[in-house]
C-alpha cells in the first residue's frame, strides 16, 4: 500500500497507534517513577563530555564491537532500525495526510535504496544471530522466549516492509528497483494488479501492526535497552574506575541499599539498560567457578525485584494506610539476588569492563554489602578480618608490633617528620607484605632492587594501618573512612608526597580513593617504577636465563588502573625466553579469587578460582608465573602447592624476578 488510507482505515490506524503508544508510554512512565524514587546522585556534571561519549558510543558502537561477529550484526540492526524508523514514520504519515514525511529525505531514491539495502542486512543479521543463538549456543547466551520473539519480530518487520515496497513499486511500474525490491518483483511477477494491491496493503498493515506491537513490547523486554542505553552511556561514571562512592558514616541509619529506593537513581537506570548479552559472564570468577553469583542474573534479579515490589505496593493501594516503604522487606535488594550471592563477588570488575552499556555491577554489590553488614553482621571469618582492621589496623588480625618489627628488619631509612631531608619516594608496604610470608619475600626483593638502583627512598615505621580496601569492598564504609583518615594524617604529618607500593589494592585506594578524603599523593606501582629505573639506566638487568614466563594481570592494576604494559616490558628485559600470556589475559584476565574481601570470606561452593586460573597457566608449560600483586601471589602460590607432586610452576612477584636478574 502506498498513499493515503480510506477514512475507516484512518480510524483503525489511529486506534492502533494510540493503543501501541499508550501501552508504551504507560510502562515508560511507571519505570521513570521507579527510577526517580532512587537516591540522588550527580550524573549530570560535565554535560558536553557526557554528550560526546553518548553520541560516540551510541553511533560508534565500539563497546558492542569488542565481539566482531555480534558487533557487526548489531551494527546492521542498529542502523537498519534508525533508517527504517524514518521510513515507517513516513508510511504512517502518508496514510493520514497523503504527503511524505520529510519529503527531501524519504522521496530521495538514495533513501529508498539505503532502506532497502539495510533491510537486507538486518535480515542477514537476524539469521546470523539466530544461527549463533540456536546452533552455536555460546555459554553466555540465554535463549529466553523474549529473545526468540524479538528476532522473529525483526525478521517479519523487514519482510513486510520489503513486500510492501516491492508491491508498491511494481504497481507504479517504477524502473528504478532497489536490490531487494528487484528480487521480490521477480517473485511477484505472476500477480495481476489487484492481487499486487491486496498483497501490498496486507503487508503494509502487517508492518504497521508489528511496529506498534513491537513498540508496546519494548519496555517490557530486554529491548528496553535501545531506549535506555544512550542515556546510560551519557550517565556513565566519569570517576576513576577504582573509586567507589562514599557513604556518610555518621548516620543513625544503616548504610547502603536495603530497599531499592536506597540505590541511587543511576543504579536503578542500570537495571533497565541490561540487554542480557552475557558478556559480563565470560570472565566472572564467581560465575565460572560455579558459585551462585552471576552479574547478569544479579541485574535481572534486581530488575525483577524492583518491579515486583512496585506491583505489591500498587496493589496495596495508596488508601490502604501503609507507607510504601513498609511493604518492602528491609533487605529487598540483597533478597532479590540472594544474600549469599552478594558475598561471592571478588569486585574484579570483569563484568563492568565488558558490559557494552556501562552497567555498574560492583557499585551495586558494595551497596548491598554495606546494608547487610550494618544490619546483619558478617560471616565469622570476615568478622575476624574486620575486627582486625578496627583494632589492629590489619585484616590478618596480627599484632601491629609485628609490622613495626618487620619494617625495622627491612634495613631501610625511616620516613621521619621534619628530618631536614626529603626522600624521593616512600615505600608503602601494605598489610599483605608486612604479614604474609609470600608477600614479604616480594617486598624484601623490592627493597634490594631500590638499594641496588640507589634510589633515595624511605619506609614507614609500621604504625600505619591498612589502606582500607578490604573494608571498603566488603561494605564497611565507616571503617574504611576511619583508616583512610588515619593514614592520610600520618602521611601528611610525615610530609610524604610520593608513594611507591607493590600492592595494586593499596595502589588503587591511595591513588583513586584517598583524594576524596583530602589525601592527594603521587602514587606509583612498583612495576611502573622499576620500568622507569631500567629505562633511565639506574638499574641494569641481565637477560640471564632462558626461563619462560607467564604474567598474570592483577585486576586492580590492569582493569582498574590500565597498567598492562609496564610489568610486561620489565619482564621482557629479564629473560631470553618468551613471555606467554594465559588464554584469558589483560582486560580479559581471570581474577585470582582473592579480591573484594574474598581472601577473608570462606566459600564452600564451586571450584576455587585460584586453582582454575593456575590450571590455565600450567597449560602454557612455563617455568615461572609472575604477578605484581601480593594477593595474586598468595592465591597462585596456594594453587601451585595444591599439586601433590610439588609445584611445576614457581610463582614470583615481579620484584623478585628483577632482583634475581639485576646486575649488582
Amino acid at each position: 500500500m502506498d498513499g493515503q488510507l480510506m477514512p475507516l482505515g484512518k480510524v483503525v490506524l489511529a486506534v492502533v497507534l494510540l493503543l501501541g503508544t499508550g501501552v508504551f508510554a504507560d510502562r515508560v512512565f511507571r519505570i521513570l517513577r521507579l527510577v526517580g524514587a532512587g537516591r540522588p546522585e550527580d550524573r549530570l556534571d560535565h554535560f558536553w563530555t557526557r554528550l560526546a561519549y553518548a553520541i560516540a558510543y551510541t553511533f560508534g558502537q565500539s563497546t558492542v564491537f569488542k565481539n566482531r561477529v555480534t558487533g557487526t550484526a548489531h551494527l546492521a540492526i542498529f542502523y537498519g532500525f534508525l533508517v527504517i524508523s524514518v521510513g515507517t514514520t513516513n508510511l504512517i504519515w502518508r496514510a493520514f495526510s497523503g504527503d511524505s514525511f520529510l519529503p527531501f529525505i524519504t522521496e530521495s531514491p538514495y533513501f529508498i535504496w539505503l532502506q532497502d539495502v539495510l533491510a537486507i542486512l538486518v535480515i542477514v543479521a537476524v539469521i546470523v544471530n539466530a544461527y549463533r543463538r540456536y546452533v552455536l549456543r555460546p555459554a553466555e547466551v540465554h535463549n529466553s522466549l523474549g529473545a526468540a520473539l524479538v528476532l522473529t519480530l525483526i525478521f517479519l518487520l523487514m519482510v513486510t516492509l520489503l513486500t510492501n515496497e516491492a508491491a508498491g513499486q511494481k504497481l507504479a511500474s517504477s524502473p528504478n528497483f532497489p536490490p531487494a525490491g528487484a528480487l521480490l518483483s521477480v517473485a511477484l511477477a505472476g500477480l495481476d494488479r489487484d492481487h499486487l494491491a491486496a498483497l501490498g496493503s496486507g503487508a503494509w498493515w502487517a508492518h504497521i501492526l508489528l511496529v506498534l506491537g513491537f513498540l508496546a513490547y519494548v519496555p517490557y523486554s530486554k529491548h528496553m535497552h535501545l531506549m535506555v542505553c544512550p542515556f546510560n552511556q551519557f550517565l556513565r561514571s566519569l570517576r576513576p574506575k577504582g573509586d567507589l562512592l562514599p557513604a556518610l558514616a555518621d548516620s543513625p541509619e544503616p548504610l547502603g541499599a536495603g530497599r531499592f529506593d536506597q540505590l541511587s537513581w543511576k543504579q536503578l537506570v542500570d537495571l533497565f539498560a541490561c540487554t542480557e548479552c552475557g558478556r559480563c559472564l565470560q570472565f566472572c570468577p564467581a560465575h565460572i567457578t560455579g558459585r551462585p553469583m552471576a552479574p547478569r542474573q544479579m541485574i535481572l534479579d534486581m530488575r525483577r525485584g524492583l518491579l515486583a515490589q512496585h506491583k505489591k505496593e500498587k496493589s496495596a493501594g495508596p488508601g490502604s494506610g501503609t507507607p510504601a516503604g513498609n511493604l518492602s522487606p528491609k533487605a529487598a535488594v540483597a533478597d532479590a539476588v540472594g544474600r549469599e550471592a552478594i558475598w561471592f563477588c571478588t569486585t574484579c570488575r570483569a563484568c563492568q569492563e565488558h558490559c557494552p552499556v556501562f552497567i555498574e555491577h560492583v557499585d551495586k554489590v558494595v551497596e548491598a554489602r554495606r546494608f547487610l553488614l550494618d544490619t546483619e553482621g558478617a560471616s565469622p571469618s570476615l568478622s575476624k578480618a574486620l575486627e582486625g582492621l578496627t583494632l589492629l589496623g590489619n585484616p590478618q588480625m596480627l599484632p601491629p608490633s609485628e609490622r613495626v618489627d618487620f619494617m625495622e628488619k627491612l634495613n631501610a631509612p625511616l620516613a621521619m617528620a621534619a628530618a631536614g631531608h626529603e626522600h624521593e619516594i616512600v615505600l608503602w608496604t601494605g598489610c599483605a607484605a608486612a604479614y604474609e610470608p609470600a608477600a614479604q619475600d616480594a617486598i624484601k626483593a623490592l627493597v634490594k632492587v631500590l638499594q641496588t638502583a640507589r634510589v633515595d627512598f624511605a619506609v614507614l615505621d609500621g604504625t600505619e594501618k591498612c589502606c582500607g580496601d578490604p573494608a571498603r569492598r566488603t561494605g564497611e564504609e565507616g571503617l574504611f573512612q576511619e583508616l583512610a583518615r588515619y593514614n592520610i594524617e600520618k602521611l601528611q604529618h610525615l610530609g610524604v608526597k610520593k608513594l611507591l607500593t607493590s600492592c595494586p589494592h593499596c595502589y588503587n585506594t591511595l591513588k583513586n580513593e584517598y583524594p576524596r578524603f583530602g589525601g592527594v599523593f603521587s602514587v606509583i606501582h612498583h612495576s611502573e617504577f622499576i620500568l622507569g629505573l631500567v629505562e633511565n639506566g639506574q638499574l641494569e638487568l641481565n637477560r640471564l636465563s632462558e626461563q619462560s614466563i607467564s604474567y598474570h594481570d592483577p585486576c586492580y592494576l590492569g582493569r582498574y588502573n590500565d597498567v598492562y604494559e609496564a610489568p610486561r616490558e620489565v619482564l621482557r628485559r629479564t629473560t631470553k625466553g618468551a613471555i606467554r600470556d594465559p588464554a584469558r589475559t589483560r582486560e580479559r584476565s581471570l581474577c585470582c579469587g582473592g579480591g573484594g574481601g574474598q581472601m577473608y570470606l570462606e566459600s564452600a561452593a564451586g571450584v576455587r578460582a585460584n586453582r582454575l586460573r593456575f590450571a590455565e597457566v600450567e597449560e602454557l608449560a612455563v617455568s615461572t608465573l609472575v604477578t605484581a600483586c601480593p594477593f595474586c601471589k598468595i592465591m597462585m602460590d596456594d594453587a601451585a602447592r595444591y599439586n601433590s607432586e610439588g609445584p611445576k610452576v614457581r610463582v614470583k612477584d615481579i620484584a623478585e624476578i628483577v632482583a634475581e636478574t639485576m646486575a649488582v
Partner: protein
C-alpha cells in the same frame, strides 16, 4: 515466657586489654601490651552475654537492656559498643584511673547501683580474660541475694512463666540443665553465641547516643568501704611452666607379667600405623575411610 510488665535485663560488661595479642604480665598482675597503640576490647564473655540478651529481647519483645560497667572514663568505650549492638540504656560507674579494684569491690559497686534499680535478670560474662577470677558474678548474686547459674552455654525461656532454663558447662564435657525463677543472675560462657560484627557507623552512633543518654555515676568510695577498694592484692604472677612431655609408662593396672613383657619389649605395645600418600583429595578420602573403620565417623 510472657511477663506482663516490661522485662528488665542488666548486662555487666568490662573493657579489657586485648589478650589475644602477645602481652606481658607484671609480677603485680598488670597486663602490658607492646603495641603502638593500646588495644582495648569488650571482654569476650561479656560480649556474648550482651549478644544473648539481645536475642532474649527479640524473643520477649517488651524488654529493655541496660549495660553497666565499673571503671575509669575510658571504659565508656565498652558501653558505646553495647549501645551499638543494641543496649537501650547504659550506666557507667566511674572510678579513678589508678584505683586497684578486686572482684569483691567491683561486685559491691555494681550491687550498690543495681539495688536502686528494677530488674528481672542480670547477665555477666563468666570470666574476664585479663584477671580470670570469675568471681564478680557470684559475688554480685550473693550481695543481691539472687539465685545464680554460672557457666551458661545455652539459654531458653522455660515453659512456665518467669522461668529460665539454662544449660551449664561442667567439667569434661558434662552438661547440666538448670531451671531458675526470676529475678536471677547468670554468668555466661563466651561460647554461648557468636557475637555479631558491629560496624564503625553503628559504633559511632552508639558513642553519640551514649554521650546523650548514658547515665554516669561517680563512685564514692567511702559509701562502700572505709578500708579502701581492695580487701586483697595480687602478690605475684608467674608465667606458665612448659608442660612435660608424656612418656609411655606401664599402667599400674597391668599385671606384673604384662608389665614385665612391656618393659622387656622396650615400649608400649606398638600402635599399628598406616601410611598413605597421594593428593589432598585422596588423602582426605583415606582419612575418612580410616575414621569410619574405627567407628569415629558415621
Amino acid at each position: 515466657m510472657r511477663v506482663q510488665r516490661r522485662m528488665e535485663i542488666l548486662v555487666c560488661v568490662k573493657l579489657i586489654l586485648d589478650t589475644r595479642l602477645p602481652v606481658q604480665v607484671t609480677e603485680q598482675g598488670t597486663v602490658i601490651q607492646g603495641e603502638p597503640w593500646p588495644v582495648y576490647v569488650l571482654n569476650p564473655a561479656d560480649r556474648a552475654a550482651l549478644e544473648e540478651a539481645v536475642r532474649l529481647r527479640n524473643e520477649v519483645g517488651d524488654c529493655r537492656i541496660t549495660a553497666i560497667t565499673v571503671g575509669p572514663a575510658r571504659a565508656g568505650v565498652a558501653l558505646a559498643y553495647c549501645v551499638a549492638r543494641g543496649a537501650d540504656n547504659t550506666v557507667h560507674l566511674i572510678t579513678d584511673e589508678l584505683v586497684q579494684m578486686d572482684s569483691f569491690y567491683v561486685a559491691r559497686v555494681l550491687g550498690a547501683e543495681i539495688r536502686k534499680r528494677e530488674f528481672d535478670l542480670i547477665m555477666c560474662g563468666n570470666n574476664t580474660e585479663d584477671n580470670s577470677s570469675g568471681e564478680v558474678g557470684p559475688f554480685l548474686a550473693e550481695l543481691l541475694d539472687l539465685p545464680q547459674v554460672t557457666n551458661v552455654v545455652k539459654l531458653n525461656f522455660g515453659s512456665r512463666e518467669r522461668k529460665l532454663v539454662a544449660e551449664r558447662k561442667l567439667e569434661r564435657g558434662y552438661r547440666q540443665l538448670v531451671e531458675t525463677g526470676l529475678p536471677a543472675l547468670l554468668t555466661l560462657d563466651s561460647s554461648i553465641c557468636q557475637p555479631r560484627y558491629v560496624t564503625v557507623r553503628a559504633a559511632r552512633y552508639g558513642a553519640k547516643r551514649l554521650a546523650e543518654t548514658g547515665t554516669i555515676v561517680r563512685v564514692q568510695d567511702s559509701s562502700l568501704n572505709s578500708s579502701g577498694p581492695s580487701l586483697r592484692s595480687v602478690v605475684s604472677v608467674s608465667p606458665p611452666r612448659p608442660r612435660p612431655k608424656k612418656i609411655a609408662q606401664p599402667d599400674a593396672g597391668m599385671s606384673p607379667a604384662e608389665r614385665m613383657a612391656m618393659l622387656m619389649s622396650g615400649a608400649m605395645p606398638t600402635k599399628s600405623s598406616q601410611r598413605t600418600t597421594g593428593g589432598p583429595e585422596s588423602l582426605a578420602d583415606d582419612m575418612i575411610a580410616f575414621l569410619k573403620e574405627k567407628g569415629l565417623l558415621t
